[in-house]
Symmetry: C2
Subunit: 241 residues, 2 copies
């Protein structure tokens, strides 16, 4: 079983302080770009891989989805989702993405926000997702950007004045484990190249409908100017072909 | 008229020393990945945007293309193409990509190798290419990778021992002009984000068929290990939708 940082108390408590935890979708920097990628969810079946606090599940339910399954490896996260974002059509379930059974043609829409960069076998998961989607099904995800995951220590290089000099990239074509520090804990992520992220989808039988790098909205730029200096997240909408 | 480095004598002479100039396609590091992206060219009409010495035009002719047009801004390059890679079905023509008239439904295949990172209005060119392609036409290109064009000075950061420390990225979301040094000259390139490169294609009415980052082949890795440390080029096959 993969180690799950989100069940460490320190990490969990720190995560609870993030604006995406306190404010939900409106506090998530990428939501303004992710939301328009979602199809109409009215009457749809939605699977959320790595649902965390369940904000996207709740959004789907509020949009009229008829059934939503939120899956997350972390018991603490699932407990939090049940507490904060319960809804009659939503089921929250503790489990690893790699261990879910992905029944054939079961879901109209699969969503995964900031989870796939913890998955080593991206191609394997893609194939499973392809299989569990209905013939016209849509897969929308947000993964950490390869420029970010290939960042040296996933941090800036700093000048003597303590300010970010630039974003250092290395070992780009050596995908796999990256040990990083996030919210005071050591966190292991998986670096995937852009080729793996996109060709993997094409090879699994998806058509690419949108490929968007997350960046701050115009009103947020003055608050986080450094976020224009390197990409951090990568949003994709793919459809069963 | 855009300034054309390739017509400066110094730059031209230096370019002539590169293995891609001396050996043609087999001397181009990306050819082993670009070649499999090309469709059958037997009986096809092929347009090469930024044909340089004409290697790809000659390849298309040798594969049975019935008509090939090689376009390049540089008079010197076109003279060289006519000298080295003449063929009865090939026409070489001096001209800017932005000024070609892109007749509707005129070409079955458009190829562009290492030229689009000199183009400021990528979306505009995409629309023109879409228009000049036949209904099932294919557009294959190789553009410098956004990680490369957003590189600080498009060079490594070096350690005290003079070896590359890492590849520094900055101002990623500020696309446009980048002044760089290449083959002893100052060369102006255009940085485009990945979103611009790929969403631009989708928005122009293309389906993405392949998205591949160039990397050294297994036998070349020992000769150029640093090329695994950051991506330099980005290959795409797109088809009219």
């Amino acid at each position: 079983m993969r180690h799950n940082h989100y069940d460490e108390q320190t990490f969990f408590d720190q995560y609870a302080q993030m604006s995406r935890s306190q404010e939900g979708l409106s506090g998530a920097g990428e939501w303004w770009q992710l939301k328009p990628l979602l199809p109409s969810l009215e009457g749809k079946r939605v699977l959320d891989l790595g649902c965390g606090y369940g904000w996207h599940c709740k959004y789907a339910a509020d949009q009229g989805a008829k059934e939503v399954l939120g899956l997350d490896l972390s018991e603490k996260m699932i407990a939090e989702a049940r507490r904060r974002n319960a809804h009659p059509v939503i089921t929250y379930q503790v489990g690893a993405l790699e261990q879910y059974d992905y029944p054939e043609g079961r879901w109209d829409c699969v969503v995964s926000n900031l989870t796939l960069h913890y998955i080593a076998d991206l191609e394997g998961i893609y194939r499973q997702i392809r299989r569990t989607l209905t013939p016209d099904g849509v897969f929308i995800f947000n993964i950490e950007h390869p420029v970010f995951t290939a960042g040296v220590g996933q941090d800036w290089a700093y000048g003597e004045d303590g300010k970010p000099l630039y974003w250092p990239v290395d070992d780009y074509f050596l995908p796999g484990e990256r040990k990083t520090h996030f919210l005071g804990s050591e966190v292991i992520k998986q670096h995937h190249t852009l080729t793996q992220i996109l060709m993997g989808l094409l090879d699994a039988g998806f058509a690419l409908e949108a490929v968007v790098e997350a960046r701050p909205s115009e009103e947020m730029v003055p608050l986080m100017p450094d976020e224009l200096r390197r990409p951090m997240m990568f949003l994709v909408r793919a459809r069963v072909k």
